[in-house]
Protein backbone atom coordinates (compact mmCIF):
# COMPACT_ATOMS: atom_id res chain seq x y z
CA UNK A 1 0.00 0.00 0.00
CA UNK A 2 1.21 3.45 -0.85
CA UNK A 3 1.29 6.33 1.61
CA UNK A 4 -1.55 7.95 -0.32
CA UNK A 5 -3.64 4.88 0.23
CA UNK A 6 -2.83 4.82 3.96
CA UNK A 7 -3.81 8.45 4.16
CA UNK A 8 -7.20 7.66 2.58
CA UNK A 9 -7.82 4.74 4.93
CA UNK A 10 -6.79 6.73 8.00
CA UNK A 11 -8.89 9.75 7.00
CA UNK A 12 -11.97 7.58 6.36
CA UNK A 13 -11.63 5.76 9.66
CA UNK A 14 -11.21 8.80 11.89
CA UNK A 15 -13.79 11.00 10.19
CA UNK A 16 -16.31 8.13 10.45
CA UNK A 17 -15.48 7.62 14.10
CA UNK A 18 -15.71 11.36 14.73
CA UNK A 19 -19.10 11.59 13.02
CA UNK A 20 -20.37 8.76 15.26
CA UNK A 21 -19.17 10.62 18.35
CA UNK A 22 -20.62 13.92 17.14
CA UNK A 23 -24.09 12.48 16.63
CA UNK A 24 -24.02 10.46 19.87
CA UNK A 25 -25.23 13.10 22.39
CA UNK A 26 -27.74 14.57 19.99
CA UNK A 27 -28.91 11.17 18.75
CA UNK A 28 -29.38 9.80 22.27
CA UNK A 29 -31.30 12.89 23.39
CA UNK A 30 -33.54 12.66 20.36
CA UNK A 31 -34.04 8.90 20.73
CA UNK A 32 -34.96 9.37 24.40
CA UNK A 33 -37.40 12.17 23.62
CA UNK A 34 -39.03 10.01 20.97
CA UNK A 35 -39.20 6.95 23.23
CA UNK A 36 -40.26 8.53 26.51
CA UNK A 37 -42.10 11.77 25.83
CA UNK A 38 -45.09 12.98 23.89
CA UNK A 39 -44.76 16.36 22.33
CA UNK A 40 -46.38 18.32 19.51
CA UNK A 41 -44.68 17.77 16.16
CA UNK A 42 -43.12 14.50 17.34
CA UNK A 43 -44.21 12.56 14.26
CA UNK A 44 -42.83 15.25 11.95
CA UNK A 45 -39.43 15.20 13.64
CA UNK A 46 -39.53 11.41 13.55
CA UNK A 47 -40.10 11.47 9.79
CA UNK A 48 -37.44 14.11 9.23
CA UNK A 49 -34.79 12.11 11.06
CA UNK A 50 -35.53 9.04 8.96
CA UNK A 51 -35.56 10.90 5.63
CA UNK A 52 -31.85 10.33 4.84
CA UNK A 53 -32.52 6.59 5.04
CA UNK A 54 -35.03 6.62 2.22
CA UNK A 55 -33.99 9.60 0.11
CA UNK A 56 -31.30 9.17 -2.55
CA UNK A 57 -28.05 10.10 -0.75
CA UNK A 58 -27.16 12.38 -3.65
CA UNK A 59 -30.38 14.33 -3.07
CA UNK A 60 -29.58 14.67 0.64
CA UNK A 61 -26.13 15.84 -0.40
CA UNK A 62 -27.65 18.45 -2.69
CA UNK A 63 -29.80 19.81 0.15
CA UNK A 64 -26.73 20.03 2.38
CA UNK A 65 -24.80 21.72 -0.42
CA UNK A 66 -27.50 24.36 -0.75
CA UNK A 67 -27.75 24.90 3.02
CA UNK A 68 -24.04 24.97 3.76
CA UNK A 69 -22.72 26.68 0.62
CA UNK A 70 -21.56 30.26 1.01
CA UNK A 71 -24.83 31.45 -0.48
CA UNK A 72 -26.86 29.05 1.64
CA UNK A 73 -28.42 30.12 4.96
CA UNK A 74 -26.17 28.20 7.34
CA UNK A 75 -23.05 28.30 5.19
CA UNK A 76 -23.31 32.06 4.68
CA UNK A 77 -23.75 32.62 8.40
CA UNK A 78 -20.71 30.46 9.27
CA UNK A 79 -18.62 32.23 6.63
CA UNK A 80 -19.59 35.74 7.70
CA UNK A 81 -19.44 35.28 11.46
CA UNK A 82 -16.64 32.75 11.89
CA UNK A 83 -14.88 32.81 8.53
CA UNK A 84 -15.58 29.09 8.46
CA UNK A 85 -16.04 27.25 5.18
CA UNK A 86 -17.68 23.87 5.14
CA UNK A 87 -18.18 22.85 1.52
CA UNK A 88 -15.30 20.94 -0.12
CA UNK A 89 -13.41 20.63 3.19
CA UNK A 90 -13.10 17.73 5.65
CA UNK A 91 -15.91 19.39 7.62
CA UNK A 92 -18.24 18.69 4.71
CA UNK A 93 -17.28 15.00 4.90
CA UNK A 94 -18.05 15.01 8.61
CA UNK A 95 -21.37 16.75 7.95
CA UNK A 96 -22.42 14.31 5.24
CA UNK A 97 -21.45 11.25 7.29
CA UNK A 98 -23.24 12.58 10.39
CA UNK A 99 -26.50 13.34 8.60
CA UNK A 100 -26.48 10.02 6.76
CA UNK A 101 -25.74 7.88 9.82
CA UNK A 102 -27.90 9.70 12.41
CA UNK A 103 -31.13 7.83 11.55
CA UNK A 104 -29.49 4.47 12.22
CA UNK A 105 -28.31 5.52 15.66
CA UNK A 106 -31.62 7.17 16.59
CA UNK A 107 -33.70 4.20 15.50
CA UNK A 108 -31.59 1.64 17.35
CA UNK A 109 -31.33 3.75 20.52
CA UNK A 110 -35.03 4.52 20.49
CA UNK A 111 -35.97 0.85 20.41
CA UNK A 112 -33.43 0.20 23.17
CA UNK A 113 -34.88 2.98 25.36
CA UNK A 114 -38.42 1.75 24.78
CA UNK A 115 -37.43 -1.68 26.04
CA UNK A 116 -36.26 -0.34 29.39
CA UNK A 117 -39.03 -0.91 31.95
CA UNK A 118 -40.25 2.57 32.96
CA UNK A 119 -41.04 1.19 36.41
CA UNK A 120 -37.30 0.91 37.07
CA UNK A 121 -36.83 4.60 36.27
CA UNK A 122 -39.79 5.53 38.45
CA UNK A 123 -38.49 3.57 41.42
CA UNK A 124 -35.05 5.16 40.97
CA UNK A 125 -36.84 8.49 41.33
CA UNK A 126 -38.50 7.40 44.57
CA UNK A 127 -34.98 6.63 45.78
CA UNK A 128 -34.07 10.27 45.30
CA UNK A 129 -32.48 10.22 41.84
CA UNK A 130 -32.96 13.19 39.53
CA UNK A 131 -33.55 13.00 35.78
CA UNK A 132 -29.88 12.94 34.81
CA UNK A 133 -28.95 10.35 37.37
CA UNK A 134 -31.85 8.13 36.29
CA UNK A 135 -30.79 8.53 32.67
CA UNK A 136 -27.13 7.72 33.18
CA UNK A 137 -27.40 5.04 35.88
CA UNK A 138 -30.58 3.21 34.84
CA UNK A 139 -31.74 4.01 31.32
CA UNK A 140 -28.41 4.09 29.46
CA UNK A 141 -26.85 1.00 31.08
CA UNK A 142 -30.00 -1.02 30.44
CA UNK A 143 -30.15 0.22 26.85
CA UNK A 144 -26.39 -0.13 26.33
CA UNK A 145 -26.58 -3.06 23.94
CA UNK A 146 -28.95 -1.27 21.61
CA UNK A 147 -27.01 1.98 21.83
CA UNK A 148 -23.66 0.35 21.03
CA UNK A 149 -25.30 -1.65 18.25
CA UNK A 150 -26.66 1.60 16.82
CA UNK A 151 -23.24 3.27 17.08
CA UNK A 152 -21.58 0.46 15.18
CA UNK A 153 -24.26 0.60 12.51
CA UNK A 154 -23.80 4.35 12.23
CA UNK A 155 -20.02 3.96 12.03
CA UNK A 156 -20.31 1.29 9.33
CA UNK A 157 -22.74 3.47 7.37
CA UNK A 158 -20.30 6.38 7.61
CA UNK A 159 -17.40 4.22 6.35
CA UNK A 160 -19.27 3.40 3.16
CA UNK A 161 -21.02 6.72 2.55
CA UNK A 162 -20.67 7.93 -1.05
CA UNK A 163 -23.52 9.97 -2.57
CA UNK A 164 -23.94 12.77 -0.04
CA UNK A 165 -20.20 13.07 0.49
CA UNK A 166 -19.36 13.54 -3.17
CA UNK A 167 -21.99 16.30 -3.45
CA UNK A 168 -20.80 18.41 -0.51
CA UNK A 169 -17.13 17.51 -0.27
CA UNK A 170 -16.16 16.52 -3.77
CA UNK A 171 -13.42 13.93 -4.11
CA UNK A 172 -10.29 15.91 -3.48
CA UNK A 173 -7.28 13.57 -3.06
CA UNK A 174 -5.50 14.13 0.24
CA UNK A 175 -8.30 16.40 1.47
CA UNK A 176 -11.78 14.97 1.27
CA UNK A 177 -11.31 11.66 -0.45
CA UNK A 178 -12.68 8.66 1.48
CA UNK A 179 -12.26 4.98 0.62
CA UNK A 180 -15.51 4.79 -1.37
CA UNK A 181 -14.73 7.94 -3.32
CA UNK A 182 -11.21 6.73 -4.07
CA UNK A 183 -12.38 3.30 -5.25
CA UNK A 184 -14.87 4.94 -7.61
CA UNK A 185 -12.31 7.37 -8.97
CA UNK A 186 -9.64 4.70 -9.48
CA UNK A 187 -12.07 2.46 -11.36
CA UNK A 188 -13.10 5.43 -13.52
CA UNK A 189 -9.43 6.07 -14.33
CA UNK A 190 -8.81 2.39 -15.08
CA UNK A 191 -6.42 2.05 -12.11
CA UNK A 192 -7.68 -1.34 -10.94
CA UNK A 193 -4.75 -2.27 -8.64
CA UNK A 194 -5.41 0.79 -6.49
CA UNK A 195 -9.12 0.07 -6.44
CA UNK A 196 -8.63 -3.57 -5.43
CA UNK A 197 -6.24 -2.74 -2.60
CA UNK A 198 -8.74 -0.25 -1.17
CA UNK A 199 -11.48 -2.80 -1.69
CA UNK A 200 -9.47 -5.26 0.43
CA UNK A 201 -9.09 -2.66 3.18
CA UNK A 202 -12.80 -1.89 3.26
CA UNK A 203 -13.61 -5.60 3.56
CA UNK A 204 -11.22 -5.86 6.51
CA UNK A 205 -12.66 -2.74 8.17
CA UNK A 206 -16.26 -3.91 7.73
CA UNK A 207 -15.35 -7.37 9.01
CA UNK A 208 -13.68 -5.88 12.08
CA UNK A 209 -16.65 -3.64 12.86
CA UNK A 210 -19.20 -6.44 12.63
CA UNK A 211 -16.96 -8.83 14.52
CA UNK A 212 -16.51 -6.29 17.33
CA UNK A 213 -20.23 -5.77 17.63
CA UNK A 214 -20.89 -9.52 17.74
CA UNK A 215 -18.23 -9.93 20.41
CA UNK A 216 -19.71 -7.10 22.42
CA UNK A 217 -23.24 -8.42 22.19
CA UNK A 218 -22.17 -11.88 23.24
CA UNK A 219 -20.23 -10.57 26.21
CA UNK A 220 -23.20 -8.49 27.40
CA UNK A 221 -25.54 -11.45 27.20
CA UNK A 222 -23.63 -13.42 29.82
Amino acid sequence: MTSDEWQIVWFTAWVSALSTLVILPFGLALAWALARRDWPGKSIVETFVSLPLVMPPVATGLILLKLFGRRGGIGGFLHDKFNLDVIFTWRAVLLALSVMSLPLLVRAARVAFEEVNPRLEQIARTLGAGDWRVFFTITVPLAARGIVGGMLLAFARALGEFGATIMVAGSIPGKTQTISLAIFQNVQLGDDTHAYRLLGVSVVLAFAAVWCSELFLRRRKK
Binding site: L120, A124, T126, L127, G128, A129
Partner: protein
Protein backbone atom coordinates in the same frame (compact mmCIF):
# COMPACT_ATOMS: atom_id res chain seq x y z
CA UNK B 1 -48.16 9.38 60.53
CA UNK B 2 -50.93 11.42 59.11
CA UNK B 3 -51.63 11.04 55.42
CA UNK B 4 -54.43 13.12 54.07
CA UNK B 5 -55.86 12.36 50.63
CA UNK B 6 -58.50 14.89 49.71
CA UNK B 7 -60.62 15.32 46.59
CA UNK B 8 -58.59 12.75 44.70
CA UNK B 9 -59.95 12.19 41.23
CA UNK B 10 -58.13 10.16 38.61
CA UNK B 11 -59.92 8.68 35.60
CA UNK B 12 -58.82 5.10 34.98
CA UNK B 13 -59.81 2.68 32.22
CA UNK B 14 -63.13 1.48 33.67
CA UNK B 15 -63.91 3.91 36.46
CA UNK B 16 -62.68 7.03 38.18
CA UNK B 17 -60.59 6.69 41.29
CA UNK B 18 -62.25 8.95 43.84
CA UNK B 19 -60.78 9.08 47.29
CA UNK B 20 -61.26 11.22 50.38
CA UNK B 21 -59.52 9.65 53.28
CA UNK B 22 -57.26 10.38 56.19
CA UNK B 23 -54.86 7.71 57.41
CA UNK B 24 -53.51 8.13 60.91
CA UNK B 25 -52.26 4.79 62.08
CA UNK B 26 -48.73 3.49 61.70
CA UNK B 27 -49.69 0.72 59.31
CA UNK B 28 -52.63 1.12 57.00
CA UNK B 29 -53.80 -1.56 54.61
CA UNK B 30 -55.55 -0.53 51.42
CA UNK B 31 -57.69 -3.55 50.89
CA UNK B 32 -59.67 -4.44 47.80
CA UNK B 33 -60.01 -6.78 44.84
CA UNK B 34 -57.67 -6.66 41.84
CA UNK B 35 -58.28 -3.70 39.58
CA UNK B 36 -59.79 -1.54 42.32
CA UNK B 37 -57.30 1.28 41.69
CA UNK B 38 -55.00 0.40 44.57
CA UNK B 39 -51.73 0.67 42.66
CA UNK B 40 -52.84 3.91 41.00
CA UNK B 41 -53.44 5.31 44.47
CA UNK B 42 -49.89 4.43 45.53
CA UNK B 43 -48.52 5.98 42.34
CA UNK B 44 -50.36 9.21 43.16
CA UNK B 45 -48.93 9.31 46.67
CA UNK B 46 -45.40 8.65 45.35
CA UNK B 47 -45.83 11.35 42.71
CA UNK B 48 -45.40 8.94 39.80
CA UNK B 49 -48.78 9.94 38.41
CA UNK B 50 -50.67 13.17 38.40
CA UNK B 51 -54.35 13.19 39.24
CA UNK B 52 -56.99 15.34 37.62
CA UNK B 53 -57.55 16.78 41.05
CA UNK B 54 -55.77 15.98 44.28
CA UNK B 55 -54.74 17.35 47.62
CA UNK B 56 -52.14 15.14 49.28
CA UNK B 57 -50.55 15.98 52.60
CA UNK B 58 -48.11 13.86 54.59
CA UNK B 59 -47.80 15.11 58.17
CA UNK B 60 -47.21 18.85 57.78
CA UNK B 61 -45.94 18.71 54.17
CA UNK B 62 -48.25 19.25 51.26
CA UNK B 63 -47.12 16.94 48.44
CA UNK B 64 -49.65 17.87 45.78
CA UNK B 65 -52.38 20.44 45.46
CA UNK B 66 -53.90 20.68 42.01
CA UNK B 67 -55.98 23.69 43.02
CA UNK B 68 -52.76 25.66 43.49
CA UNK B 69 -50.95 23.78 40.73
CA UNK B 70 -48.48 22.57 43.33
CA UNK B 71 -46.62 19.31 42.87
CA UNK B 72 -43.59 17.99 44.73
CA UNK B 73 -41.54 15.78 42.37
CA UNK B 74 -41.12 12.13 43.32
CA UNK B 75 -37.46 12.35 44.27
CA UNK B 76 -38.13 15.05 46.85
CA UNK B 77 -41.06 13.30 48.53
CA UNK B 78 -39.03 10.93 50.67
CA UNK B 79 -41.45 8.10 50.10
CA UNK B 80 -40.10 4.57 49.76
CA UNK B 81 -41.95 2.41 47.25
CA UNK B 82 -41.75 -1.35 46.87
CA UNK B 83 -43.79 -2.08 43.74
CA UNK B 84 -45.40 -5.41 43.04
CA UNK B 85 -42.71 -6.44 40.55
CA UNK B 86 -40.07 -5.11 42.99
CA UNK B 87 -38.18 -3.29 40.20
CA UNK B 88 -34.72 -4.33 41.33
CA UNK B 89 -32.11 -2.89 38.96
CA UNK B 90 -31.00 -5.94 36.98
CA UNK B 91 -27.64 -4.47 35.90
CA UNK B 92 -26.53 -3.77 39.46
CA UNK B 93 -25.43 -6.09 42.27
CA UNK B 94 -27.43 -6.47 45.46
CA UNK B 95 -25.06 -4.06 47.22
CA UNK B 96 -25.37 -1.45 44.45
CA UNK B 97 -29.14 -1.79 44.54
CA UNK B 98 -29.16 -1.27 48.29
CA UNK B 99 -26.95 1.79 48.07
CA UNK B 100 -28.76 3.42 45.15
CA UNK B 101 -30.93 5.66 47.30
CA UNK B 102 -28.37 5.95 50.06
CA UNK B 103 -26.63 9.09 48.88
CA UNK B 104 -29.67 11.07 47.96
CA UNK B 105 -29.60 14.51 49.46
CA UNK B 106 -33.23 14.47 50.45
CA UNK B 107 -32.98 12.26 53.50
CA UNK B 108 -36.26 13.29 55.02
CA UNK B 109 -36.99 10.40 57.31
CA UNK B 110 -35.00 8.75 60.06
CA UNK B 111 -31.65 7.36 58.94
CA UNK B 112 -31.33 3.63 59.28
CA UNK B 113 -27.83 2.23 59.31
CA UNK B 114 -26.82 -0.03 56.47
CA UNK B 115 -25.68 -2.73 58.88
CA UNK B 116 -28.90 -2.62 60.85
CA UNK B 117 -31.17 -2.95 57.81
CA UNK B 118 -29.01 -5.73 56.36
CA UNK B 119 -29.11 -7.55 59.68
CA UNK B 120 -32.86 -7.21 60.27
CA UNK B 121 -33.69 -8.45 56.77
CA UNK B 122 -30.90 -11.08 56.80
CA UNK B 123 -29.35 -9.91 53.55
CA UNK B 124 -25.66 -10.31 54.47
CA UNK B 125 -25.11 -13.55 52.51
CA UNK B 126 -26.68 -12.08 49.36
CA UNK B 127 -24.84 -8.83 49.25
CA UNK B 128 -22.27 -9.49 46.54
CA UNK B 129 -24.63 -11.43 44.25
CA UNK B 130 -26.38 -10.17 41.15
CA UNK B 131 -30.09 -9.59 41.61
CA UNK B 132 -30.99 -12.03 38.85
CA UNK B 133 -29.56 -14.87 40.97
CA UNK B 134 -31.95 -14.27 43.88
CA UNK B 135 -35.04 -16.29 44.76
CA UNK B 136 -38.46 -14.64 45.05
CA UNK B 137 -38.29 -14.20 48.81
CA UNK B 138 -34.73 -12.87 48.68
CA UNK B 139 -35.67 -10.33 46.02
CA UNK B 140 -38.56 -9.21 48.20
CA UNK B 141 -36.23 -8.58 51.14
CA UNK B 142 -33.65 -6.75 49.02
CA UNK B 143 -36.35 -4.48 47.55
CA UNK B 144 -37.62 -3.74 51.04
CA UNK B 145 -34.10 -2.98 52.30
CA UNK B 146 -33.37 -0.74 49.34
CA UNK B 147 -36.48 1.33 50.05
CA UNK B 148 -35.63 1.54 53.77
CA UNK B 149 -32.06 2.65 53.11
CA UNK B 150 -33.25 5.74 51.27
CA UNK B 151 -34.54 6.85 54.68
CA UNK B 152 -38.14 7.41 53.70
CA UNK B 153 -40.75 8.83 56.03
CA UNK B 154 -43.43 6.59 54.58
CA UNK B 155 -43.13 3.17 52.99
CA UNK B 156 -45.52 2.11 50.24
CA UNK B 157 -45.84 -1.63 49.68
CA UNK B 158 -47.76 -2.88 46.68
CA UNK B 159 -49.04 -6.42 47.27
CA UNK B 160 -45.86 -7.44 49.09
CA UNK B 161 -46.88 -11.08 49.21
CA UNK B 162 -48.98 -11.56 46.09
CA UNK B 163 -46.21 -12.97 43.94
CA UNK B 164 -45.07 -15.49 46.55
CA UNK B 165 -46.46 -18.96 47.19
CA UNK B 166 -48.02 -19.83 50.54
CA UNK B 167 -44.95 -21.14 52.41
CA UNK B 168 -42.86 -18.16 51.30
CA UNK B 169 -45.60 -15.77 52.33
CA UNK B 170 -45.44 -17.05 55.85
CA UNK B 171 -41.70 -16.47 55.84
CA UNK B 172 -41.94 -12.89 54.59
CA UNK B 173 -44.70 -11.68 56.93
CA UNK B 174 -42.39 -11.77 59.97
CA UNK B 175 -39.84 -9.68 58.05
CA UNK B 176 -42.46 -7.08 57.28
CA UNK B 177 -43.59 -7.10 60.91
CA UNK B 178 -39.96 -6.68 61.98
CA UNK B 179 -39.49 -3.72 59.67
CA UNK B 180 -42.64 -2.20 61.14
CA UNK B 181 -41.54 -2.69 64.75
CA UNK B 182 -37.80 -2.26 64.44
CA UNK B 183 -37.72 0.89 62.32
CA UNK B 184 -40.98 2.45 63.48
CA UNK B 185 -41.70 3.51 59.94
CA UNK B 186 -45.24 4.26 58.78
CA UNK B 187 -46.39 1.89 56.07
CA UNK B 188 -49.16 1.88 53.56
CA UNK B 189 -49.67 -1.61 52.30
CA UNK B 190 -51.86 -2.53 49.36
CA UNK B 191 -53.31 -6.01 49.53
CA UNK B 192 -56.19 -8.20 48.50
CA UNK B 193 -55.35 -10.82 51.11
CA UNK B 194 -57.23 -10.40 54.38
CA UNK B 195 -54.70 -12.37 56.40
CA UNK B 196 -51.95 -10.10 55.20
CA UNK B 197 -54.00 -7.10 56.24
CA UNK B 198 -54.65 -8.66 59.63
CA UNK B 199 -51.03 -9.57 60.24
CA UNK B 200 -49.65 -6.14 59.44
CA UNK B 201 -52.17 -3.35 59.62
CA UNK B 202 -53.72 -1.29 62.38
CA UNK B 203 -56.15 0.42 60.10
CA UNK B 204 -57.82 -0.58 56.89
CA UNK B 205 -59.21 1.25 53.91
CA UNK B 206 -61.54 -0.84 51.76
CA UNK B 207 -61.23 0.26 48.14
CA UNK B 208 -63.56 -1.23 45.53
CA UNK B 209 -64.01 0.09 41.99
CA UNK B 210 -62.13 3.29 42.78
CA UNK B 211 -64.33 4.15 45.77
CA UNK B 212 -63.50 3.91 49.45
CA UNK B 213 -66.28 1.82 50.99
CA UNK B 214 -65.11 1.78 54.57
CA UNK B 215 -62.21 2.82 56.78
CA UNK B 216 -61.41 2.03 60.37
CA UNK B 217 -59.47 -0.26 62.70
CA UNK B 218 -58.92 -3.68 61.11
CA UNK B 219 -61.05 -5.57 63.60
CA UNK B 220 -63.94 -3.14 63.30
CA UNK B 221 -64.03 -3.36 59.54
CA UNK B 222 -63.67 -7.14 59.44
CA UNK B 223 -66.20 -7.79 62.22
CA UNK B 224 -68.68 -5.11 61.30
CA UNK B 225 -68.53 -4.58 57.53
CA UNK B 226 -70.44 -1.40 56.71
CA UNK B 227 -72.21 -2.94 53.73
CA UNK B 228 -72.83 -6.26 52.06
CA UNK B 229 -70.25 -5.30 49.45
CA UNK B 230 -67.55 -4.85 52.07
CA UNK B 231 -68.63 -8.05 53.79
CA UNK B 232 -68.19 -9.89 50.51
CA UNK B 233 -64.55 -8.86 50.32
CA UNK B 234 -63.57 -9.20 53.93
CA UNK B 235 -65.53 -12.45 54.22
CA UNK B 236 -64.69 -13.78 57.69
CA UNK B 237 -67.49 -13.99 60.23
CA UNK B 238 -65.59 -14.49 63.45
CA UNK B 239 -62.44 -12.61 64.22
CA UNK B 240 -61.11 -12.24 67.73
CA UNK B 241 -57.76 -11.67 69.40
CA UNK B 242 -56.35 -14.59 71.35
CA UNK B 243 -53.14 -15.92 72.86
CA UNK B 244 -51.34 -19.14 72.11
CA UNK B 245 -50.87 -20.82 75.47
CA UNK B 246 -48.90 -23.84 74.30
CA UNK B 247 -47.93 -25.74 71.18
CA UNK B 248 -47.79 -29.50 71.20
CA UNK B 249 -47.17 -31.72 68.17
CA UNK B 250 -48.30 -29.03 65.76
CA UNK B 251 -51.45 -28.24 67.71
CA UNK B 252 -51.79 -24.92 69.45
CA UNK B 253 -53.90 -24.29 72.50
CA UNK B 254 -55.35 -20.83 72.20
CA UNK B 255 -57.15 -18.89 74.86
CA UNK B 256 -59.84 -16.49 73.73
CA UNK B 257 -61.26 -14.61 76.66
CA UNK B 258 -62.37 -17.42 79.02
CA UNK B 259 -62.53 -20.08 76.35
CA UNK B 260 -59.82 -22.43 75.11
CA UNK B 261 -59.58 -23.61 71.50
CA UNK B 262 -57.38 -26.08 69.68
CA UNK B 263 -56.00 -25.00 66.31
CA UNK B 264 -53.18 -25.89 63.94
CA UNK B 265 -50.06 -24.07 65.09
CA UNK B 266 -48.92 -21.29 62.77
CA UNK B 267 -45.28 -21.49 61.63
CA UNK B 268 -44.37 -18.22 63.31
CA UNK B 269 -43.43 -17.93 66.94
CA UNK B 270 -45.79 -15.06 67.65
CA UNK B 271 -47.87 -15.58 70.77
CA UNK B 272 -50.55 -13.03 70.04
CA UNK B 273 -52.86 -14.08 67.25
CA UNK B 274 -56.17 -13.35 65.63
CA UNK B 275 -58.54 -16.28 65.65
CA UNK B 276 -60.47 -16.44 62.38
CA UNK B 277 -63.43 -18.76 61.93
CA UNK B 278 -65.78 -18.81 58.95
CA UNK B 279 -69.47 -19.07 59.76
CA UNK B 280 -70.01 -22.14 57.59
CA UNK B 281 -67.35 -24.04 59.56
CA UNK B 282 -69.29 -23.79 62.81
CA UNK B 283 -71.61 -26.74 63.51
CA UNK B 284 -74.43 -26.37 66.05
CA UNK B 285 -76.04 -29.17 68.05
CA UNK B 286 -78.17 -29.54 71.15
CA UNK B 287 -76.43 -29.02 74.42
CA UNK B 288 -76.52 -32.76 75.15
CA UNK B 289 -73.02 -33.93 74.32
CA UNK B 290 -72.20 -36.76 71.93
CA UNK B 291 -68.63 -37.93 71.48
CA UNK B 292 -67.08 -36.99 68.11
CA UNK B 293 -63.75 -36.26 66.49
CA UNK B 294 -64.29 -32.54 66.75
CA UNK B 295 -61.75 -30.98 69.11
CA UNK B 296 -63.51 -27.76 69.87
CA UNK B 297 -66.82 -28.09 71.66
CA UNK B 298 -68.08 -24.85 73.09
CA UNK B 299 -71.24 -24.35 74.99
CA UNK B 300 -72.75 -21.12 73.85
CA UNK B 301 -75.75 -18.89 74.33
CA UNK B 302 -77.68 -17.68 71.29
CA UNK B 303 -77.57 -13.91 71.19
CA UNK B 304 -79.34 -13.24 67.91
CA UNK B 305 -80.75 -15.01 64.85
CA UNK B 306 -80.83 -13.27 61.49
CA UNK B 307 -82.20 -14.77 58.30
CA UNK B 308 -80.01 -14.20 55.23
CA UNK B 309 -81.79 -15.82 52.28
CA UNK B 310 -81.68 -19.59 52.66
CA UNK B 311 -79.31 -19.26 55.61
CA UNK B 312 -79.59 -18.12 59.17
CA UNK B 313 -76.76 -16.17 60.73
CA UNK B 314 -76.54 -17.18 64.38
CA UNK B 315 -74.71 -14.87 66.75
CA UNK B 316 -73.42 -16.80 69.76
CA UNK B 317 -71.73 -15.94 73.00
CA UNK B 318 -69.15 -18.68 73.55
CA UNK B 319 -67.02 -16.61 75.87
CA UNK B 320 -66.31 -14.53 72.80
CA UNK B 321 -68.60 -13.49 69.95
CA UNK B 322 -68.92 -16.38 67.51
CA UNK B 323 -70.95 -16.44 64.31
CA UNK B 324 -72.42 -19.52 62.68
CA UNK B 325 -74.14 -19.86 59.30
CA UNK B 326 -76.72 -22.65 59.14
CA UNK B 327 -79.63 -23.45 56.85
CA UNK B 328 -83.16 -22.42 57.75
CA UNK B 329 -84.50 -26.01 58.00
CA UNK B 330 -81.64 -26.82 60.40
CA UNK B 331 -82.61 -23.83 62.48
CA UNK B 332 -86.20 -25.00 62.65
CA UNK B 333 -85.24 -28.60 63.42
CA UNK B 334 -82.97 -27.57 66.29
CA UNK B 335 -85.65 -25.15 67.51
CA UNK B 336 -83.07 -22.43 68.01
CA UNK B 337 -84.28 -19.30 69.74
CA UNK B 338 -82.58 -16.26 71.12
CA UNK B 339 -81.36 -16.81 74.68
CA UNK B 340 -81.25 -20.61 74.23
CA UNK B 341 -78.18 -22.81 74.83
CA UNK B 342 -76.39 -24.84 72.12
CA UNK B 343 -73.07 -26.58 71.63
CA UNK B 344 -70.89 -25.19 68.86
CA UNK B 345 -68.44 -27.57 67.18
CA UNK B 346 -65.44 -26.30 65.23
CA UNK B 347 -62.95 -28.64 63.58
CA UNK B 348 -59.34 -27.84 64.35
CA UNK B 349 -58.25 -27.05 60.73
CA UNK B 350 -61.18 -24.63 60.40
CA UNK B 351 -59.62 -22.27 62.94
CA UNK B 352 -57.14 -20.01 61.25
CA UNK B 353 -54.57 -18.27 63.42
CA UNK B 354 -53.04 -15.06 62.11
CA UNK B 355 -50.12 -13.53 64.00
CA UNK B 356 -50.80 -9.99 65.19
Amino acid sequence: MNLLLKNISLPLANFTLEVNVEMQKRVTAVFGPSGAGKTSLLDLIAGLRRAQSAFIQLDENVLADTAKNYFVPTRRRGIGYVPQDLALFPHLSVRQNLLYGRNSRVATGPLFSFEHVVEVLEIQPLISRGVTELSGGEKQRVALARALLSSPRLLLLDEPLASLDAPLKEKIIPYLARVRDEFQIPMLCVTHDRFEALALADEIVVLVGGQVLQTGPVLDVFNRPASAEVAKFVGVETLHPGQIESVNEGLATVSVNRTTLTALAPPTASRDVFVCIRGEDVILQHAAAVASSVRNRLSARIVALRTEGALVRVELDAGFPLFALITRPACVELALREGGQVTALIKTPAIHLVPR
